[in-house]
Symmetry: C2
Subunit: 407 residues, 2 copies
């Protein structure tokens, strides 16, 4: 007998009929002898309806009251799912975040979980009940309702799984797993049976939006095996866990990409200690997030400095950089907001040489000019002109034979 | 400076625009230097929408989960009202029943308030905040959400006013006060400035459905002055309090009536101790509520026994009564479900004789046959054929000059 924490998102519980389907799924896991804790989101559309009511009233809703408002969305779902389970003969009990009790800090709308007291949940599980918990919400030390931010139900599920020492945390969603790359770009992209937490983090942050990145971090930190699977189709989904001996022997797990990149370059900056901070400090103070950073020392003891930002922040970042260039006595500032990023991700890189050169060779073979390169232990990212996105991803997917299962 | 508890019902907060109007009203009371606690219901239609979702899923929803579900309705309103207040520059803080904390028993969907811990509310009032509380809900000793039953927001307001020792509890509704009788029946029915708790209880239980009867009882018990007034029009409304010297010097405060009555008679019951219990016991065991009861001893030492029930219970009560008649050896059972009840209510009756005879004379003058009479200290009720309702009420309203303000 296993203890399983399951999370069903807004689409999976979007109608009362679908809530009935979720109850059937949960019942199936109970019938196999498992203890089940279910975390649910608000019915799809409900959170937006509530936000709409608030915006009818004010442009600047109080964050505390906004959390009181939107947290009702999940509360509706937990009650309905318990009714559906009991109607099928499965005793169930619902809990709001406050009732569990999921203690968070007081950062309304983006609270972080500090502690989970799962005594009530444990008691109900022992009594043979399915426990249904409202995702995305908690309570602060003053008893105020908090929310973890949009999509935070994944985090609730993982945190509960960690606190309960669950055997597996299953995230049900509208895709049936994690793919080698976006199937809309590469038609023979393949579902991965397994992937490591580290790979998933690199995939997620680079645009494969299957799971909340905080949930993956949390799962990795507390070593909670995480499975992504479809609410609507049968299947094993993708298991996200630590690398083990059974792990597929792949060099590359997947190809992530990001369409909304822009790059900025400051040329001929007199080289001196602290120059990176002088350039990037004002950018970060303006709340612009910097992704890749590359610095070259030129022969005349000046330095060239290039970094990428989200395309929405391009104009703002360019203005700031021009001002810094004046102050630092730099020669020139330029930028390009028609670029994208392609990344190969795989723990296999650690033990295999030659992957980077195969990547560069493949792109060169297609006539794709690389504008920027950045590498980490399990990832190689390149920046190229945006027109090459599909061509580059497809060429790399084929070159590394990702459509085939390893062994 | 006074402490005022206000309650706004579902119609008063039925749209975001109306919630804005409520915020304006509350702001007006704050501007006059009052501390204000506001109790709100769910936006009109919302509770029914939630019940509809539940009935899509099951015919027999768990009462606990039903309360989790419907309590979200008021939670939405408290958040929106706080936003509206803060947008107008009035600091505000919302509380669910559980957050206040309004401790109830565990009778889901019809819980009774056991205790109110108002420390948080007091702290917010001292800090100059408007406190907005979700009506109709509480929390039991296990931390489960409970509801007080439909319309229970009035009870929340009164209970909070009692716990906070408020100067007045104002119930905002869609009528502008308590009237001498239903204005749809008597066009010159007059709004009462004041009425006593006892009169209000008699009026409410007899069909003037302005206020929840439990809320009036509660207010009377804890001596909380209660004011009924309109959300939509200006005006003083009607103050419900204990009799005082300033109280209007009226003989009669109002005329209540009830359309849905039925009467049952058992004739020729051999008179013996306990006969009333033998007749009414089985009726009450069948959950049929009995209103008026009249017993006459006939000359042959048998007794005749008449009582009234709600018209919906007529057939059930008649069946039970026929069975009892057989067992008791009664001569006959008959009934009539085309009757109504008219009641004069007024604390003035206590000190004035002749009111009953004036009532009977007035009805006789219109050719209305009285079928049954029952009196209490502050009420005289008569049962008449249903066709005489309008005629009887109008004649009595005129005879007692209720359209005129006393003095």
């Amino acid at each position: 007998m296993s203890l399983i924490v399951q999370k069903y998102g807004g689409t999976s519980v979007g109608t009362t009929e679908r809530i009935g389907n979720v109850a059937d799924k949960v019942a199936g896991w109970r019938d196999k002898g498992n203890d089940v804790v279910v975390v649910v989101s608000a019915m799809s559309g409900e959170t937006n309806r509530l936000i709409g009511l608030a915006s009818d009233i004010t442009d600047k809703p109080s964050p505390r009251e906004m959390d009181v408002l939107v947290s009702t969305g999940e509360q509706v779902t937990i009650a309905l799912l318990c009714m559906a389970l009991e109607q099928r003969g499965y005793p169930a009990r619902s809990y709001t975040g406050s009732q569990v009790h999921i203690l968070t800090d007081s950062s309304f709308s983006k609270a972080r979980i500090l502690d989970i007291d799962n005594q009530n949940v444990q008691k109900d599980l022992s009594a043979g009940r399915v426990v249904v918990v409202a995702g995305f919400q908690g309570v602060d030390e003053h008893g105020s309702i908090t929310t973890l931010g949009r999509g935070g139900s994944d985090t609730t599920a993982v945190a509960l799984a960690a606190a309960l020492k669950a055997d597996e945390c299953q995230i049900y969603t509208d895709v049936d797993g994690v793919y080698t790359t976006d199937p809309r770009v590469v038609s023979d992209a393949r579902r991965l049976n397994k992937i490591t937490f580290e790979e998933m983090l690199e995939m997620a942050s680079l645009g494969s939006k299957v799971l909340q990145i905080r949930a993956v971090e949390f799962a990795g930190k507390y070593n909670v095996p995480l499975r992504v699977l479809s609410s609507f189709e049968e299947g094993e989904g993708t298991l996200i866990s630590y690398e083990d001996e059974e792990m597929e022997d792949a060099l590359i797990s997947g190809i992530a990409f990001n369409r909304d990149e822009a790059k900025l370059t400051i040329l001929g900056v007199p080289d001196q200690p602290g120059v990176a901070h002088k350039i990037l400090g004002p950018i970060s103070e303006a709340n612009v997030e910097v992704d890749m950073i590359v610095q070259n020392i030129a022969e005349d003891s000046t330095t060239d400095f290039t970094f990428t930002v989200h395309r929405n922040d391009y104009d703002k970042a360019l203005d700031i950089l021009k001002q810094s260039a004046d102050e630092l006595g730099a020669r020139e500032v330029n930028g390009d907001n028609k670029i994208i990023k392609i990344s190969l991700v795989g723990v296999g890189m650690r033990s295999h040489a030659g992957i980077a050169s195969k990547m560069f060779e493949t792109l060169a073979g297609e006539g794709i000019n690389i504008r920027m390169i950045s590498t980490s232990e399990i990832k190689i990212s390149v920046v190229v002109d945006e027109k090459y996105l599909e061509l580059g991803v497809r060429a790399l997917h084929e070159a590394f034979e990702l459509e085939k299962s390893p062994q």
